[in-house]
């Protein structure tokens, strides 16, 4: 289980946790609180090849829809099926039970472009 310090962040508010060749991806605590009550998640397809920074999932709240952009390129190896029945997991546990999908990392260099928690916090502050 990742903690907020360990994971890396994107400017579009996703987090990435690396477990060997696999990256686990979700949205940040800040993002979920901005979204409000989440009612539906459209997950990426298993085996789908994702491109970095391209939209690959959608999170719906009652009155909004938010795109999730893949932080890394790679193939989807697993999606969090629990979100189908309980999308609110993203609200209650964004970094753990609310993870969204996993990709097999195809270009590890892309990881270098992500922010650590401190930088992400700064980024959020600046864009508030």
């Amino acid at each position: 289980m990742p903690n907020a310090e360990e994971v890396k962040y994107t400017k579009t508010h996703e987090w990435v946790h690396v477990e060997g060749e696999i990256a686990v991806i979700g949205v940040s605590e800040h993002a979920q609180s901005e979204m409000g009550d989440i009612v539906f998640v459209e997950l990426p397809k298993l085996g789908q090849n994702l491109e970095k920074e391209k939209p690959c999932a959608v999170i719906e709240s009652v009155k909004s829809a938010f795109d999730v952009y893949s932080p890394l390129s790679g193939e989807v190896t697993e999606v969090n099926e629990n979100l189908n029945s309980d999308p609110a997991l993203i609200n209650s546990s964004p970094l753990e039970n609310g993870w969204i999908f996993k990709v097999k990392i195809s270009n590890p260099d892309e990881l270098n472009e992500l922010m650590n928690l401190e930088k992400y916090r700064e980024f959020v502050k600046q864009n508030a």
């Binding site: 009612v39 719906e60 009155k63």
Partner: protein, 490 residues
């Protein structure tokens, strides 16, 4: 009675009870093979006629309406719906006319539609009109299809983009996608208007159309309109006007005079036909001469003193729905037009603008307006900082208004304004009604400042308290499944 309050018709059903009966004439039996026949009875309610009437009458009591309540929904033009229009549109010979009737049987309707088209051309300074779109968004779809066909015919297939300001109604970008166009969104300036430099950068030889809402969704007239239109035209771009806000312009300005190439009109907004709880509307498209060949069919024409429908138009985009448009709605709008003269038409927009500015002036002191200038037919305000500090949001203000018997304005739109309240009073409301609204808004401001919990709880006085929309979206219950499962839900 209260216990029965929200019971569904199916829960009031009793097996064997009947309302409408058709005396059967089935001496011929059923000449259809068994395997193609229905083998289960549909789960429809069984009620007496009185029970049906009472069911719906009681439901009607649980509803705000323009007839009973001030209804200042911005962008929706909730003006009075004259009852004479209902009477004339339901005359038997109008209602009983089949859309595939021979033109000879339809001379009255065709004459009416022909003259309505002419009147709209005159009101908008355009050259041709189609009345076939069923609503405003359907009109937008038609307009974008016309422009696509125009450029294809001209051999400029590379024009695949539509430029749309970020203040636009959601229907504009949605329309663009429906026809396979790319949407290029341009940012409005701090006044909510189009920035000329931004526009210039967005337009190119790939742009087909610029879609403008005039006045824009902030209720502001684009002062640079001449420049904007000429920049677009110089790039070979067609200028479309979303006419949803035509109630601000009718009688005082003709869009065609500003160089608009095509536009839609929402007959259920500007021309007073009832909104019916979400339709039916009608969405005429008016175009300049060069776009006329692309209008959808059927067209209504006059030939040797006879009115005819014409479908043989080689460049037409084709059909956008079955048969003709929403004729009954169009008849109502024509009656409305004829209740005005050449000279009195401008009284509509004039009073709509005065009413909106009166609200802006009185409410702007407490609820910060997006724009300090005078507005046209509607104004956009925001929830005050003092209230936001108390965790009171626009939604709470809206819900509290309901307690005063006033429908809420449009909220959280346009998207470019934080905590927006978009207020359109229309010309048919009296000063007294506006004053009552102002008073309620002032009281809500005070409450928000000193008793914010009242607003968070609102509505308080209605039979129904605040709805759990999250529950609805997470657990979609979209129909009854059986009498039993329903009753258990009460």
């Amino acid at each position: 009675m209260i216990e029965n309050d929200s019971k569904l018709s199916i829960e009031k059903s009793a097996s064997g009870r009947r309302a409408l009966v058709f005396n059967a004439r089935n001496k011929n039996g059923i000449k259809i093979p068994q395997h193609l026949l229905r083998d289960t009875e549909p789960l429809l309610p069984e009620l007496s006629e009185l029970e049906v009437i009472r069911h719906y009458t009681l439901l009607s009591h649980k509803n705000f309406s323009l007839d009973a309540n001030f209804y200042p929904l911005g962008s929706c033009t909730m003006k009075y719906n004259p009852r004479i229009n209902e009477i004339v549109s339901s005359l038997k010979n109008f209602e009983d006319l089949h859309p595939l009737s021979d033109d000879a049987c339809a001379q009255g309707t065709l004459e009416l539609l022909y003259h309505l088209e002419k009147a709209l051309c005159e009101i908008c300074a355009m050259d041709a009109t189609t009345l076939t779109p069923a609503a405003g968004a359907h009109g937008e779809f038609t307009g974008a299809a016309i422009v696509k066909a125009y450029f294809e015919n001209k051999g400029e297939k590379q024009r695949v983009q539509i430029v749309i300001p970020d203040s636009a109604h959601g229907t504009n970008p949605a329309t663009s996608s429906m026809l396979g166009f790319e949407t290029v969104e341009i940012k409005s300036n701090e006044k909510g208007q189009i920035d000329i430099e931004t526009l210039k950068k967005a337009l190119s030889e790939r742009t087909a159309m610029l879609m403008l809402t005039i006045p824009n969704t902030l209720g502001i007239f684009e002062a640079d309109i001449e420049k904007i239109v000429s920049i677009a035209h110089n790039s070979g771009v067609v200028v479309y006007m979303d006419g949803a806000n035509m109630n601000a312009l009718i009688g005082i300005l003709k869009p065609g005079d500003m160089g608009i190439d095509l536009m839609h009109l929402n007959m259920h907004k500007t021309f007073s036909t009832p909104h019916g709880g979400g339709g039916p509307g009608a969405g005429a498209i008016c175009v300049k001469k060069y776009l006329e060949p692309f209008l959808p069919v059927p067209r209504v024409i006059k030939e040797k003193g006879m009115f005819r429908t014409k479908s043989d138009c080689p460049l037409s985009i084709g059909k956008i729905k079955s048969f003709f448009g929403n004729t009954a709605v169009l008849i109502k709008s024509y009656a409305y037009i004829l209740s005005h003269s050449n000279d009195s038409l401008s009284e509509i927009s004039k009073n709509a603008i005065i009413n909106a500015n009166y609200l802006l002036k009185k409410l702007g002191k407490l609820y910060p307006p997006h724009n300090r200038e005078y507005c046209m037919h509607e104004c956009v305000l925001s929830c005050p900082e003092e209230l936001l500090k108390n965790q009171v949001r626009t939604l709470d203000v809206a819900k509290r208004l309901l307690d005063f018997g006033l429908h809420a304005p449009t909220v959280y739109f346009p998207l470019i304004v934080k905590e927006a309240l978009m207020i359109e009073p229309t010309e048919t409301e009296s000063k007294e009604t506006l004053d009552a609204f102002i008073q309620a808004m002032q009281k809500i401001y005070e409450e928000g400042k000193y008793h914010p919990e009242t607003l968070k709880k609102a509505p308080i006085n209605l039979a129904t308290k605040r709805m759990d929309e999250t529950f609805a979206a997470r657990n979609p219950d979209l129909r009854w499944e059986s009498k039993k499962t329903c009753s258990s839900k009460v």
